[in-house]
Amino acid sequence: MNPHQLPDEWGRFGPYGGKYAPEVLMPALEELEGFYNQVQGDAAFHQELDGLLRDFVGRPSPLYFAERLTELCRGAKVYLKREDLNHTGAHKINNSVGQVLIARRMGKKRIIAETGAGQHGVATATAAARFGMECVIYMGRVDMERQAPNVHRMKLLGAEVVPVDSGSMTLKDAINEAIRDWVTHIRDTHYVFGSVLGPHPYPKIVRDFQKIIGIETETQMQEKEKRLPDVLVACVGGGSNAMGLFYNFLDKPSVRLVGVEAGGEGIATGRHAARFEGGTLGILHGTRSYVLQTPQGQIAETHSISAGLDYPSVGPEHAFYRDQKRIEFASITDLEALNAFHTLCRLEGIIPALESSHAVAHALKLAPTLPKETLLVINLSGRGDKDLQTVLDTMTPESGSPGQQAVPKTTGAVKR
């Protein structure tokens, strides 16, 4: 199986993926695919994109040897891929800049996007500001509260942030509302999908704009260690940072790929967002993949302390490579993620996003079990400034350590 031939022309990764969209959107998806294929061979496009990634985004992001984390683990040698050092503080900007460049070529005047943690919203607002385009960001009310700093950033960048009050008021509802906007303003608007989700060609486009993470990681590891890494660990909400890191290594079988889902308050409690542990095959937001849903096919309520992982489905390419046993998946609870957050703050002087903290937490479990010559890379997909309030709410003033209970979140109608 050559991973570079997937998806097929209909957007399928084996039984996953596809193009399940209302008729109004179908011509727009065809148009987007057409333009995307066109820019593949367009040197001027790539020159412009590469220039922006270098001078505006700040790429390449460093591959950093986490010396004290490695000492703590007494096992594998731990590296951090520092996507948190990108402009706007996460990997999301790689995709937003690329899609906004395509939108300009398509002659679109208006940009819309959904956002969960706010990182994709900020990245898209940033790219839209850079190119003088109108920008509207949809964000669930619950996420606006828990990621307030990002809401302010988007507004400063000139975007309109529309609160979404339907459903669980989180990422999935923001996507619903963005799709409703798109079907209404289809002619002049481009929807910058933020993850390897949605109808074809989005999972492919987003992956292609994010695969630079893995390509850089290989080069940087060759420079530092003169060989390939052994283990890659990344958190998986929709799965864009993980696919961005993994894609370049899919056909290098010596490299172990580990995706980390949000275990919320524990899989047994039902309050989580671990699609591969509690999900079944379904179709949500245009793609066929694992979905947390009821036996009746109604989408279930999810929970995670991290807004960016709090989503009931997962990128179809992840589902495919899980079946192939090429990518393995684990889950990390809210509390484990919080502990890892504090560990990274204190040992390395890096405040990670709560999403990325899930990857750190799993690496902290994994690294001690591995021989010391093992090279382990954590994708530090974003920085944690946006999460300060969430984290502070879990801490007691005296101890400065996380409390026993992560912040509970009450939402929506459908119970799993």
Binding site: N176, V183, L284, Q296
Partner: protein, 268 residues
């Protein structure tokens, strides 16, 4: 003959147009849905689109979102839905189309649910997020069961796509009056008439128009151009009101009669 096909044959003979109401199954209640359906038929409705709720209805406006939530809160599931269909079918031959999204039907098992629906008295399916390109398997299921598979065409649909839709569609073609979500609106899309005429000219199937139609004047305007009108939110909105069911029925009957009247004139 499939009841949907029979309805259009009858309308053609009478030189009338189709009135196709959309209502949300389970709103305001299960038994009430049956009563509303029978009232609509008595008022002159020709085909019923019976909404099967989905938790994340991404092509629907606020009214139909709220109705889907209400139905789910009321405990509507596959069995309750089919009970409503059976309830209507014991007293009526009104053609019934299951109007939903792909996921609930997929999760229930598409072939299995289609078979159960057929047995209960359903005549066709319309799944908003199942484009024609993803429909091959279900197409076969529907053909085997003599169910009609109805597709939407939109103002953005290109001539090439329209040809494909018309090859695959059965029952009737549902043309969306403008890009956007479901809900009541004041006007139609720019070049609406021109586009609808082109669709109508290309189609061997009856063409009906929906999305945003809420007044008798709009129904009349649509009937002049095609084979019928779909009205959803203007009816569903009223079923969400908190009032005695007898009053709601009376109101709906009045609204339906006014909306239906243009379709039952003699159209040359």
């Amino acid at each position: 003959m499939n009841r949907i096909d029979a309805a259009f044959v009858r309308l053609r003979e009478k030189k009338q147009k189709a009135f196709i109401p959309y209502i949300a199954a389970g709103v305001p209640g299960f038994k009430e849905t049956v009563d509303i359906a029978l009232d609509l038929e008595a008022a002159g409705a020709d085909i019923l689109e019976l909404g099967y709720p989905f938790s994340d209805p991404m092509a629907d406006g606020a009214v139909n979102q709220l109705a889907a939530n209400r139905a789910l809160q009321n405990g509507l599931n596959d069995e309750a839905y089919l009970d409503i269909v059976r309830g209507i079918r014991t007293k009526s031959q009104l053609p019934i189309v299951v109007f939903s999204y792909l996921n609930p039907i997929f999760k229930l098992g598409m072939a299995d649910f289609a078979r159960r629906a057929k047995e209960a008295g359903v005549d066709g399916f319309l799944l908003v997020d199942m484009p024609v390109e993803e429909s091959a398997e279900f197409q076969e299921t529907c053909r085997t069961l003599d169910l009609r598979l109805i597709f939407l065409a939109a103002p953005t649909t290109t001539p090439v796509r329209l040809q494909r839709l018309l090859r695959e569609a059965s029952g009737f073609l549902y043309y969306i009056s403008r890009t956007g979500i479901t809900g009541e609106r004041a006007g139609f899309e720019e070049n609406f008439e021109e586009k609808l005429r082109a669709v109508k000219a290309a189609s061997k199937l009856p063409v009906v128009v929906g999305f945003g139609i809420s007044t008798p004047e709009q129904v009349r305007a649509v009937c002049a151009l095609c084979d019928g009108a779909v009205v959803g939110s203007a009816l569903v909105r009223r079923t969400l009101d908190d009032k005695p069911f007898a009053d709601l029925r009376e109101e709906l009957r009045g609204v339906a009669r006014a909306l239906i009247s243009p379709t039952k004139e003699i159209w040359p």
